[in-house]
């Protein structure tokens, strides 16, 4: 409540609409930070909270908070993720806060500026794509190295100097506004830290427990110094980062605002403290405190969102290990400390991403990663440095910067602290293009409406090439729409929502004198995640094999079959299609060619588009919970998939169609990762077993040597998951890997739970898929 109250109050009263957007934002966040209540929670060594509670929901009235308006009076009693709210809070939101934003949210400003364009109306049909800028700009890694190496005062000093430099052109004035906004908002953060320090002193004065009193006094000292000054200790460095992260969460909803390479950024402080006598246990405790802190806020979505897409955490990725900018092994003691904390706490957040460079990283490091994965069941995930560096280099990132990549959100490689890559700004449902190719630009969900361009109805097609052409037309159109929408939304952000704090922590912005949203970062790109890849490849391949190559049945028959949801009399057709070995994730040449074609087409088409900051669009294959949500809305497909079944997640084969582990890894590894620059999530499940630990590492190593980009595992069997679905109370902490990030199983919506249960599970002892059912 604190944030919407403060933002709304400021915007209603002190805000001066005559100021530039940058300056308005600078003043706003200074106000927000100065008026943020300092909260110190029990039993944590780090000070500060995202909300005014120990764990709270943040409502961003300028983004999508209004979508819970209809449910304000029922939300405290809903089944999934209920949210406690008082009568007074409801009234405040309903009467005072929300009405102010009716015409002022990003979504509605973009709509109005562009005359309620088709691209935005298409998004509201749910099943085609989602453009996430309506929720925030996020999915990036701030430059925390800057925070701990310089301190905010030094950044303010630089902004001040630049502001005072000569020049009075229009451009210069815009820059000066930006520099002023940086100073204002960072001073706000410093005020907040000072308030925390006073609060810690106040609590210490009345604390009776001597140990806790000592902790509080230390906390007061820490907050007196950081993040204004450069931290001196490991604890100060962590608290400095945490306070800045809190600030960034006031500016933007935390949708995968990621942490970057913490083991690198923090190592000097860790090493110093170890020399001074800090024990390993103390280091693990501090990391643990930090892990608990970053999960202190939860997203709030309306029931529809929960039903279809719910259960996500904030997807805050932390990245470990890998190589340094010179290409040498960068794994250090802190890497292992962080792994230990992860292993002990088994938390949903952060999403722990481990980098591994075959031949450079040490085998015992990989073994340890596998061990932690087995012990936690779901984390960390594995990234291949060799392929990720190549993928980023292909996007114009310098070699040194590419080597310094970290994972954003689910899996997206991004040169951290210098790239604004909004790697999850677009989530596109590939099967909707497939539908439109089958029905001449119409979609079953939107019935007779002509959505996409009119292409020849599939029943009239005489060659596979013709079908592919129609797919390309529909995909191309869909991409046009979603890119237009993202660009519209980006411009709405520029107009009403610059982000001076994020920009202060982003390399490039200071030099250019530009906000992140206007292209200030060194690297500018936009990432689009594709949903339903394997289902579309299998469908297209089935059409190629059975309709055009073998002519076993006609396009009309396959369309009747999917319209009838493969029911009698189409069971035989379905058995034929399902039994075919021509599938994504096998040795099939046909499926591989189709996957290469589709991935190539998507990459080339998106790369041909420019975003509103002059950057390029990249494509990735990771799906969060969207493959289950979109799946629930989608009819039967030519692949043999039935109506409403979840799609396969990420870049994972369809459950049951890729029976051999090595073939599956081989298939995915050999896809062209330079055309998958927005990352991919290969989600596999291994049957738990203690005898095959070393083989686990071997499969990861082999996958990477063949070129694989990323892979992640749930080490759990179906029986356990099914039991957990039935008796959630028995498994309160069971956490699983969804598609890129981890989530508590009990929080997931039923479609997603079902997908994880049916997801391809391989027995490492035999390398065979354990079929579902």
């Amino acid at each position: 409540m604190e944030l919407p109250r403060n933002i709304t109050h400021y915007m209603k009263h002190p805000d001066n609409p005559a100021d530039s957007p940058e300056l308005r934002a600078g003043k706003l966040y200074k106000y927000v930070m100065e008026n943020k209540r300092p909260v110190i929670t029990d039993e944590n060594l780090l000070a500060g909270t995202t909300t005014a509670r120990t764990i709270g929901v943040v409502l961003y009235p300028d983004f999508m908070a209004l979508s819970i308006w209809p449910e304000l009076e029922t939300i405290s009693r809903r089944k999934k993720n209920p949210f406690g709210i008082t009568r007074a809070e409801i009234d405040e939101l309903n009467f005072d806060i929300f009405p102010y934003w009716l015409d002022r949210t990003i979504q509605e400003v973009a709509r109005k500026d562009n005359g309620n364009p088709l691209c935005q109306r298409i998004m509201e049909r749910i099943v085609f794509y989602i453009a996430t800028k309506v929720y925030s700009i996020s999915h990036t890694v701030p430059n925390y190295a800057m925070v701990v190496e310089r301190g905010l005062l030094d950044i303010i000093r630089e902004a001040r100097e630049r502001e005072l430099s000569p020049g009075s052109s229009k451009e210069d004035r815009a820059k000066k506004d930006f520099y002023q906004a940086v100073q204002l908002s960072l001073n706000g953060i410093i005020s907040y830290a000072a308030n925390l320090s006073r609060e810690a002193d106040r609590l210490a004065a009345k604390e009776v427990d001597t140990k806790r009193r000592q902790e509080l006094l230390e906390m007061a000292e820490v907050c007196k110094r950081v993040p204004a000054e450069r931290p001196r200790t490991f604890r100060e460095a962590l608290n400095a980062i945490w306070i800045c992260k809190i600030a960034l969460h006031q500016e933007n909803a935390n949708v995968a605002l990621s942490l970057g390479r913490l083991d690198q950024v923090l190592y000097p402080f860790y090493a110093e403290d170890i020399k001074r006598g800090m024990t390993l246990a103390e280091a693990v405790e501090l990391i643990g405190c930090f892990w608990l802190k970053i999960a202190d806020h939860v997203p709030l979505s309306p029931e529809t969102g929960e039903e279809l897409f719910g259960g996500s955490g904030s997807n805050q990725a932390v990245t470990l290990g890998g190589v340094d900018i010179k290409g040498a092994d960068a794994v250090n003691d802190l890497t292992y400390v962080v792994l230990k904390a992860t292993e002990l706490l088994r938390l949903r957040d952060p999403n722990v991403n481990a980098r591994y460079y075959p031949q450079v990283s040490k085998k015992e490091y990989l073994d340890r990663l596998c061990e932690v994965n087995i012990n936690t069941g779901a984390t960390p995930c594995f990234h291949n440095d060799a392929s990720a560096v190549e993928a980023l280099s292909g996007q114009g990132v310098s070699l040194e910067h590419a080597r310094d990549y970290s994972s954003v959100g689910c899996v997206e490689p991004s040169s951290g602290g210098r790239t604004y890559g909004h790697t999850g700004c677009i989530l596109m449902n590939l099967t909707s293009a497939l539908e439109m190719a089958l029905w001449g630009g119409k979609h079953r969900l939107t019935e007779d409406e002509q959505i996409g361009p009119k292409t020849k109805p599939a029943v009239a097609m005489t060659s596979f090439a013709e079908f592919k052409k129609a797919m390309e037309t529909q995909l191309g159109w869909l991409i046009d729409q979603v890119v237009t929408l993202n660009n519209n939304l980006g411009r709405a952000h520029q107009e009403i929502h610059p982000t001076p704090m994020l920009s202060a922590f982003m390399e490039g912005c200071m030099e250019k004198g530009k906000d992140v949203i206007s292209g200030g970062a060194t690297y500018n790109s936009s990432g689009a995640a594709m949903i339903g890849l394997a289902d579309v490849v299998d469908s297209v391949t089935a059409i190629q094999e059975f309709v055009f190559d073998k002519k076993k049945f006609t396009m009309a028959e396959i369309i009747s079959a999917i319209n009838a949801d493969w029911s009698v009399p189409y069971k035989k057709l379905q058995a034929m299609v399902k039994a075919s070995p021509e599938k994504f994730g096998t040795d099939s040449r046909m499926a591989r060619a189709n996957a290469d074609w589709l991935i190539g087409f998507l990459h080339d088409t998106f790369q041909g588009k420019e975003n509103y900051r002059g950057g390029k669009y990249t494509v990735g294959y990771w799906t969060m919970t969207n493959h289950a949500g979109f799946g629930a809305l989608t009819g039967a497909l030519p692949s043999g998939r039935m109506k409403n079944e979840p799609f396969a997640s990420g870049i994972t084969p369809v459950s049951g169609s890729a029976p051999v582990l090595t073939s599956c890894l081989n298939f995915v590894a050999r896809l062209d990762h330079t055309r998958i620059a927005d990352g991919h999530a290969l989600n596999l499940k291994y049957t738990p077993s203690t005898t095959t630990m070393s083989r686990f590492a071997d499969t990861v190593e082999a996958f990477f040597k063949m070129g694989g980009l990323q892979v992640q595992f749930n080490i759990i069997d179906r029986k356990t998951l099914e039991d957990a679905r039935k008796y959630p109370e028995k498994y309160p902490d069971l956490f699983v890997r969804v598609s890129g990030y981890t989530a508590y199983f009990k929080d997931l919506n039923p479609h997603m739970q079902q997908e994880i249960i049916t997801r391809a599970e391989y027995d490492l002892g035999t390398g065979e898929e354990q079929k579902y059912g």
């Binding site: 069971k571 035989k572 057709l573 058995a575 034929m576 399902k578 039994a579 040795d587 051999v660 582990l661 090595t662 073939s663 081989n666 095959t692 083989r695 071997d698 499969t699 190593e701 082999a702 040597k705 063949m706 490492l764 002892g765 035999t766 390398g767 065979e768 079929k771 059912g773």
Partner: protein
């Protein structure tokens, strides 16, 4: 050169009944195991009875069956019936394969397929990276791979040319000269079954005497100019299947132990009995010898047998490559 003891089998084309990728129990590392069809022995306890006959057979996989009945109408001898839980009356079935053709899904499959050498090598090389990172490779198993010396040799040679570690699992019933000439140069590891020390019992339970087998084992372990004794010991791993009442008797294991010791063996492997195959075989009207145990070995029994051997013994899990039916 003596005539091949398996000459009657080799007239058939070499068929493969399974290629198991990511195999972890057929030698070191991650391996691909090729199961050949056809075996000169007829061990009472054979876990893969479908591997004895060199000809193709028809497998039924009930979980993939949608009960469409196309096989029933396709079968020329009326051997298929949907009411039969095993679908096929094996006594009537002539293995013509018409039902496999007719099946829209993969509920009926032809077990035993001929792969041209190039194609088999191509499949086996697909997992090369897995072999490399894990110290694995390719294993030939069966049935009995030495039934098809020329074919096996051609594939093994191609694999060695690609730098792949190769292994073979054999019952030892082969013509030595031919084996020495065609196979030996291309295998890194020979897993050699030693079942019974007594020749008569061997004949009774496996259909053949053990003379040739033991002679071959001696030959393998005998000094050869090319290899040091350590290398030879490394390259040959005797494996003893523990079949209660048959091979797993103190008397037999003692004899085998003495025999192996006498031959200078440093390491061998015990394969614990796995009774799961029995019900499967019975369901198909196979005669299962009533003396065969229906239980797993107890840890105490296993320990007892292990103790008979005075050198490092590794106990392997068994029970891979199970077909649903045959």
């Amino acid at each position: 050169m003596t005539a091949s003891p398996t000459a009657n089998l080799t007239t058939a084309r070499p068929l493969v009944f399974d290629i198991k990728r990511h195999a972890l129990e057929d030698g070191p590392g991650i391996r691909s195991t090729v199961f050949f069809k056809g075996c000169p022995l007829t061990c009472l306890w054979c876990q893969n009875p479908e591997s004895i006959d060199p000809g193709p057979e028809i497998g039924f996989y009930p979980r993939d069956c949608i009960k469409c009945g196309d096989c029933v109408s396709a079968c020329p001898v009326s051997a298929c019936a949907l009411e039969d839980p095993f679908l096929i009356d094996r006594k009537r079935c002539t293995r013509c394969g018409d039902c496999v053709e007719a099946c829209p899904g993969r509920a009926l499959r032809l077990i035993g397929r001929f792969y041209p050498v190039d194609e088999l090598v191509d499949i086996l090389l697909r997992d090369k990276t897995f072999y490399e990172v894990s110290g694995g490779g390719v294993t030939f198993s069966g049935g009995e791979p030495t039934v098809f010396m020329d074919y096996a040799a051609a594939v093994l040679k191609a694999l060695k040319d690609s730098g792949i570690h190769t292994a073979i699992q054999t019952n030892g019933f082969f013509a030595w000269e031919e084996f020495e000439e065609k196979i030996l140069p291309y295998v890194d590891l020979i897993m050699f079954d030693v079942k019974l020390a007594d020749a008569d019992k061997h004949r009774e339970y496996t259909g053949q005497s053990n003379e040739l087998i033991l002679a071959n084992l001696k030959n393998l372990l005998a000094e050869r100019p090319a290899a040091s004794s350590a290398e030879r010991a490394e390259a040959v791993l005797p494996r003893i299947p523990l079949i209660p009442e048959f091979t797993a008797t103190v008397e037999n294991l003692r004899s085998i132990s003495d025999l192996l010791k006498g031959l200078g063996v440093k390491k061998c492997s015990l394969l614990p009995y796995n009774p799961t195959w029995i019900s499967k075989a019975e369901n198909f009207g196979k005669n299962v010898d009533p003396r065969l145990s229906r239980y797993l070995l107890t840890p105490q029994e296993l320990k007892k047998y292990q103790d008979i051997f005075s050198w490092p013994v590794c106990v392997q899990r068994t029970g891979r490559s199970e077909l649903v039916t045959f």
